[in-house]
Amino acid sequence: MLLEISDLSSHYGRILALKGIDLRIEQGELVALVGANGAGKTTLLRCLSGVQPLSGGAIRFDGADISRMSAEGRVAAGIAQVPEGRQVFGPLSVEDNLRLGAYRRRGKGVAADMERMYALFPILRDKRHLPAGTLSGGQQQMLAIARALMGAPRLLLLDEPSMGLAPLLVAEIFQTVQDLKRQGTTIFLVEQNATAALAIADRGYVLETGAVVMEGTGAELLADDKVQAAYLGL
């Protein structure tokens, strides 16, 4: 098992944001986490990346307890996150953004990976010397994904990659996510767009006001009446 979360809870001040989360991700899986706005999806990803403290429970990554590990340590261990809203480094060039994605890595693999990213997203090669802030929303999302991949992650956390994008671009981003999975990347995908996320996921979890209320394969959850009523608008 690559990631195992057990009985995790987290607070914002005195407000309990996550309670008793149990969740696991196997090597090579694409796992989706769906839920309404404010359910705690982003908070859970922040806990995984070490930028939001836990108030209880544990996170095990590849067998080791990382609950108290620094954010830098987790990146070095192989957990990379594509944050909600892309959050590229606007004033820096596209190439510098990619280079910073590999901040924790040393050695010559970095240049080869940069080429791989340009092959994956050719538009980034054309714009590599431009400030990232000048890219369109879809291009920034591609850059954010490529930047995280530059860290050669063993687990890729994707927070709302479809947010604010036109439908055509959403399809493209989800295609990219599927391609990455096919190439063997383990992916934890957090989405409000539950239909699209569950359709490509091996398994899924439904988060409601800070707790997991349902889990199953992507197909099971898509077919579930309650999920349909609550998240798919059917």
Partner: protein, 291 residues
């Protein structure tokens, strides 16, 4: 007529270079933490005082200068570690007040460690003035401007050509994203204080042969550096440099053509003017961000 103007210009550019270095110090710390470090002037004072003391004790000037820069950087790091870091998570205003407290503390410590007297350094390459189109230029002014140019070039190289420099820029733009890339954001703040201290110390060392220094020499220089940073647009490196030179030249012209009584007032008139009419300064970011 023109010779007079040139004379004021030389004097303005010399002090302007010091203000530019101090303004850059403000900008670097502001960018990494949104804190305005009011102990910036004390870095200038410590650089000058430490060098003067070591030279008086018989050390060769280059060695004394290097040691003084290192000592000032150590003070900067200590300031971050023991005064700013423990208040992490506090309101920015609270941290700004902490830096004001730190500046008072550093002045007091300097008064105890040294004294209240003025300390001098000999000019680095003699006191024979150079004549230029009827105006005179002290060789030390060239040292001041030259040192500023070298330090600014090194900073440019650091922020644009090294991975850690780029990581610092990335952190100032988006701290959360920087953390998610594995950039050690706490070290970034420590390095920002060390760099700002270095800038202050270099300025303090090269200006001491011209102005002399004492335990409270940093107050005015720090405030002038602050007005340079505000005029240029807080957080803009180019802005701090241009702002510093403008403040220096403006006060030199004002004290030359009006009265030297107005010299110090000019910097503060500039702050007020900027805050009233162009709060984001010459090169500052406008208040909006593309989402």
């Amino acid at each position: 007529m023109f010779a007079e103007f040139l004379q004021y210009l030389f004097s303005g550019l010399t002090s302007g270079a010091i203000y530019a270095l101090a303004g850059l110090g403000f900008a670097i710390i502001y960018n990494s933490s949104h804190v305005i470090n009011f102990a910036q002037g004390e870095f200038i004072m410590i650089g000058g005082m430490a060098t003067a003391t070591m030279v008086a004790a018989g050390l060769p000037l280059p060695l004394a200068a290097v040691l003084a820069v290192v000592a000032t950087m150590a003070v900067g790091v200590a300031l971050e570690k023991f005064a700013v870091e423990p208040a992490r998570g506090a309101d920015v205003t609270a941290i700004v007040i902490i830096t004001i407290g730190a500046s008072i503390f550093l002045r007091g410590a300097a008064q105890v460690l040294w004294d209240k007297e003025f300390h001098a350094l000999p000019a680095f390459s003699g006191d024979t003035p150079l004549r230029l189109a009827g105006a005179t230029l002290m060789p030390q002014s060239l040292w001041v401007v030259g040192a500023a140019v070298v330090v600014i070039a090194l900073l440019w190289w650091f922020f644009n050509r090294t991975l850690f420099g780029k990581a610092m820029l990335a952190t100032s733009h988006n701290r959360l994203a920087a953390q998610l890339m594995g950039i050690p954001v706490r070290s970034v703040l420590v390095v920002a204080f060390a760099l700002s201290a270095m800038l202050g110390a270099v300025g303090g060392i090269v200006v001491t042969p011209i102005t002399f220094t004492n335990y409270e020499a940093g107050i005015m220089l720090g405030l002038k550096g602050f007005s340079a940073a505000v005029l240029g647009g807080l957080g803009s490196g180019a802005g701090a440099i241009v702002g510093g030179l403008l403040v220096g030249v403006a006060e030199a012209l004002a004290s030359g053509y009006l009265s030297s009584a107005y010299k110090d007032a000019i910097a503060f008139v500039i702050i007020l003017f900027v805050l009233f009419f162009m709060p984001s300064g010459l090169f500052g970011k406008k208040g909006t961000d593309r989402v």
